[in-house]
């Protein structure tokens, strides 16, 4: 395939990207944002997988087995911490409208300008080679695809044209608006799309190699095992590489968060925090899929080519060698997607940092841009950013053409990772440790970078120079790749160890032993406690600036347009109920707001410079700041205390409610009891009065009738007094006024005694009472009189309802005596079992004909048994008799 054909394919693909980006931006205008979606967010994070993944993983697998995996296991592990870590960074960046890693770090440490510059420079130095690496991979893949069909000249032209188109794309979609806090809709959609392309292409090659060239995994690996060189790769070597693995894991854990391109798609372009949730599982799944066929392709490549070609190009070489042109093009496109995605995002992220933190501050200091009414400023800012993009890409191109051909994809990638890892202490420390300050961050970063340069970058550039081989000045302990005689590690692992050790050490110790300025301390509090401020923590930021509203509006207008500036100001003032008075000094919150909007346009460091030209900052006095912090702290304490008291109050209220309900129930029960008692008293009283009046008024009553009436009067009087006695008894038991007088009682004997006493009544009704009680004493602690009462009640009931037989029995269970009294009467409906021990149940539910007795016997029995720690229950079926059982503890 000729280079021109490849160029055409590449251009068609790039045109497709333009199409997708345009489509996505149009959707955004229609209010149907493509990137407001967890899946798209997770896929855009897949920009982590570059040409290094696409070609280099196979290369690394072919040289050192499964080591390649560590670069994906680290991010997989970090994904587990996305919720506390990534979400926190997102929250902070959203509220403060931070748009780059440099902004993030400099703002955290008191909007420190030098930190912004350091981060920018270090990121650029660390990452431009990495971008170059991607360009190189495109060059390699083009020449591999073109094979030896044409000269190098045409290839160079093809690559140059593609590079220019890519640059135009990046400039066009990466610098759309001056407000970098606005999302790059088209860009993110394209990145997500490219993640799909590279995954599909890589899976296609993998499946082709595994199932097309060989008969599945089994066949492939059994062939591999017969080749000692390859078989060796598939083994984990004992004792070796443990530290290297740990270092790789750490490196890649930091990289997934702190690579500028990851910060761009993961933080700046994040639409909603909830999307992080999806990324937590989807991103590791993506890594799993894209790594699935790395080993098969590596093994397949080694089996086919041995060491005749570079392992980095196995992916493309395998389908090419087999003459599968279509698949080869798809494969090439996958690698192209991996490379372009990375190039575009990394370039944009770097260019934002460079333009905002290096170029703008210098320009703004010229004074010319500080006067109001400079509407061309917006265009200037955009062109500065586009210029930065061009510069970054140009540097990367230059680097890729000047460095040697022998550099493997992996090593440059790791060097960049190691550079990025230097940001970890300042960033992670910054969001979790209030004690970290600017001095610590500067010291740590500077030292870490110096060591990175010495131990990794320089030896990489000049591997054969004398200081690398023999140490600086011939001192062996200064050998860059064996510092202090630390030998036997992978160079990246070695560099990471020393640089991070010193970086963290200085960050912590300098922070602890130096004094932070007020802005720094304030932001430390604010960053670490960001979730305490709610989703919109705007108001808590300190800026005691004094400026006129007209000045502020005009200043902002320079950068974002006068109309938009006025609208934003009015909207903000409206939201926070700030009066807009153009003649007076503006509210300090408006000054802070202006600075934040500017920050999202030109970076925080530049915004601070610009705003300070119109606003006279009231330098925060030490005391004032401390007071603010202390007030915050006190407010938190007071709130905590209030909340605690509130909870206590709620608890008490609940308890009171319960008690009240209980009291009401008791009250209602009492009322009902009284009502029932009076009714029960009135009934016999009615008979007594009526009958005695009849007898009195009718002296001529026949003798027999008179006798009958008098007898009835007697019966009813007795019933009345029994009722009164029982009501009083029950009242004594229920109120607890009756103290149970426990004494040893011989239960068996007592039962026999009561049965004997009831015998005459039973005999009169032709009822036989059988006592099934073994010959034991059954000693219980009880009040004899009360238990006797229970026995009389139950036996009395039994005699009332039995047809001909009653059985009284005594059993011993584990911990209790059971007395049961069974009759052969008509039984009790099971539905009523739970009610028959209620007071006056009989009166309320007179399914029985005329109630005999008071309706209190069972209620009293239940109370007495309960007073003894026993229980009482009934088992019965209608028409099958009833058994009443009560128990007493042994």
């Amino acid at each position: 395939m000729g280079p021109i054909t490849i160029l055409m394919i590449g251009l068609v693909y790039l045109a497709l990207l333009f199409g997708i980006a345009t489509w996505a931006e149009r959707r955004k205008l229609q209010g149907k944002s493509v990137i407001n979606n967890g899946t798209v967010y997770a896929l855009s994070l897949g920009v982590y997988c570059t040409a290094w993944t696409y070609y280099g993983s196979v290369g690394r697998a072919a040289s050192s087995g499964i080591d390649f995996l560590s670069i994906y296991l680290g991010p997989t592990m970090m994904a587990a911490f996305f919720w506390p870590v990534l979400r926190k960074i997102i929250r902070i960046s959203k509220v403060l409208q931070l748009t780059s890693l440099a902004d993030f770090v400099s703002t955290r440490y008191g909007k420190n300008f030098s930190l912004a510059v350091m981060v920018t420079v270090f990121a650029a130095v660390g990452l431009i080679p990495y971008i170059a690496l991607q360009i190189k991979s495109i060059t390699h893949s083009v020449s591999a695809l073109a094979q030896q069909q044409s000269g190098a000249g045409q290839q160079t032209v093809a690559i140059a044209v593609m590079a220019v188109v890519l640059m135009v794309f990046t400039m066009f979609y990466g610098a759309r608006s001056v407000d970098t806090a606005e999302k790059h809709e088209g860009l993110v959609a394209v990145i997500a799309f490219e993640s799909v392309v590279k995954l599909v292409a890589f899976l296609a090659v993998g499946i082709y190699v595994t199932y097309g060239l060989y008969n599945g995994f089994g066949d492939l690996f059994s062939k591999a095992r017969q080749n000692p060189n390859i078989a060796n790769l598939l083994l984990l070597k004992p004792g070796k590489g443990y530290f290297d693995w740990m270092a790789m894991l750490a490196l890649s854990m930091f990289a997934i968060l702190l690579l500028p391109r990851q910060f761009q798609v993961g933080v700046v372009e994040n639409v909603h925090e909830k999307h992080v949730y999806k990324a937590i599982w989807m991103l590791p799944l993506y890594f799993l899929l894209i790594n699935l066929f790395v080993l098969p392709i590596a093994v397949g490549g080694m089996l086919s080519f041995g060491s005749s070609i570079e392992a980095d190009s196995f992916v493309l070489a395998l389908p090419l060698a087999d003459g599968k042109l279509g698949l080869s093009v798809l494969t090439w496109l996958g690698g192209f997607a991996a490379a372009t995605g990375m190039i575009v995002v990394e370039t944009i992220a770097l260019s934002i940092m460079i333009s905002n933190n290096l170029i703008m501050p210098i320009l703004l200091r010229l004074g010319r841009f500080q006067k109001p009414g400079q509407n061309q400023l917006q265009a200037i800012i955009l062109w500065i950013r586009r210029g930065s993009i061009a510069v970054v890409l140009a540097l990367a191109l230059l680097y890729s053409f000047t460095t040697g051909e022998s550099l493997s994809l992996v090593s440059i990638g790791l060097i960049s990772f190691c550079a990025v890892a230097q940001f970890a202490p300042a960033v992670l420390g910054g969001i979790f440790w209030k004690g970290g300050n600017k001095n610590g961050a500067v010291a740590g970063l500077a030292a870490g970078f110096a060591l990175w340069i010495y131990t990794l970058a320089l030896p990489h550039l000049w591997p054969q120079s004398s200081f690398v081989l023999a140490g600086l000045g011939g001192q062996a302990w200064l050998k860059p790749q064996a510092l202090f005689y630390l030998e036997g590690f992978d160079p990246a692992a070695h560099a990471l160890f020393w640089s991070l050790l010193v970086n963290v050490g200085l960050y912590v110790s300098v922070s602890m032993f130096s004094k932070a300025n007020n802005q720094d301390r304030y932001h430390a509090e604010w960053f670490v406690d960001v979730f305490k401020h709610g989703a919109n923590g705007n108001n808590s930021l300190v800026w005691r600036g004094v400026a006129s509203l007209a000045d502020l509006t005009a200043l902002l207008g320079n950068f974002i347009g006068t109309e938009r500036s006025q609208n934003l100001m009015a909207a903000y003032a409206n939201r926070h109920a700030i009066p807009l008075n153009h003649t007076q000094k503006a509210d300090p919150r408006l000054v802070a707001f202006t600075e934040r909007i500017l920050g999202s346009t030109i970076g925080t460091a530049s915004a601070r410079i610009i705003v300070s030209t119109v606003a006279k900052e009231e330098e925060l006095q030490n005391d004032a700041l401390i007071n603010i912090l202390r007030e915050n702290q006190q407010t938190i304490e007071v709130n905590k205390e209030l909340r605690r008291q509130g909870q206590e109050l709620q608890k008490t209220t609940r308890l009171l409610e319960v008690a009240n309900t209980q009291l009401k129930q008791l009250d209602a029960q009492k009322d009902e009891f009284l009502y029932t008692v009076t009714h029960e008293l009135r009934t016999p009283l009615t008979s007594i009065r009526a009958l005695s009046e009849i007898v009195q008024d009718n002296p001529d009553l026949p003798h027999q009738q008179r006798q009958q009436y008098l007898e009835a009067i007697g019966n009813e009087s007795e019933r009345l007094s029994e009722l009164i006695t029982k009501v009083l008894l029950l009242e004594r038991y229920e109120t607890g006024r009756h103290r149970v007088n426990l004494a040893p009682v011989m239960l068996a004997q007592l039962i026999r005694h009561v049965v004997e006493r009831m015998q005459p009544v039973a005999t009169a009704k032709n009822i036989t009472i059988t006592c099934a009680i073994a010959d034991w004493q059954a000693l219980v602690q009880a009040e004899q009189q009360l238990i006797t009462q229970v026995l009389y009640n139950l036996l009395g009931n039994a005699v009332k309802f039995a047809k001909s037989n009653i059985l009284v029995a005594l059993h011993a269970d584990y911990q209790e005596w059971q007395v049961s009294i069974t009759d052969d009467g008509k039984g009790i409906d099971p539905a009523l079992h739970q009610f028959i021990f209620d007071k006056f149940f009989q009166a309320h539910n007179q399914t029985l004909t005329k109630p005999e007795g008071t309706g209190l016997g069972l209620a009293i029995s239940k109370k007495i048994v309960a007073l003894h720690g026993g229980s009482i229950y009934v088992s019965s079926k209608p028409q099958a008799g009833a058994t009443f059982v009560f128990t007493l503890p042994i």
């Binding site: 009076t678 009714h679 009135r682 009283l685 009065r689 009526a690 009046e693 009849i694 008024d697 009835a712």
Partner: protein, 126 residues
């Protein structure tokens, strides 16, 4: 002309006995029912001029019987007299609201009761 017919309903045998005696003594033609269900059954066939009605009874209570009488055209001339141990003002009010002509609380004075019943029955007499 036959004596006025009165139905006495109460689940307490002694009270029932007393009321039966008192009514007979004063010249009424008395029928008795020992509970609500029995009363309902009797009302199917007879047309009493008055019913002396206890309220708290098993199964069918006095209110139900009263409602039955008031909703039956055949029994439109039948007067209802509650004789109840429910004595609160609300109980009495409910009794009259359900259409009773008299509400007598237990325990009652036999003499007063007889007088009241007689007065109630006078207009019906020729």
């Amino acid at each position: 002309m036959a004596n006025s017919k009165i139905l006495v309903v109460d689940d307490d045998p002694y009270i029932l006995m007393s009321l039966e005696f008192l009514m007979k003594k004063n010249g009424f033609d008395v029928a008795v029912a020992r509970n609500g269900a029995e009363a309902m059954e009797l009302l199917q066939s007879m047309q009493p001029e008055a019913v002396l009605l206890d309220i708290m009874m098993p199964d069918v209570d006095g209110y139900q019987i009263c409602a039955h009488i008031k909703s039956t055209a055949r029994l439109s001339a039948c007067k209802v007299v509650f004789i109840s141990a429910k004595t609160s003002e609300a109980d009495v009010q409910r009794g009259y609201d359900s259409g009773a002509s008299l509400y007598i609380t237990k325990p009652f004075s036999t003499r007063h009761l007889v007088k009241q019943i007689k007065e109630l029955m006078v207009p019906a007499a020729p």
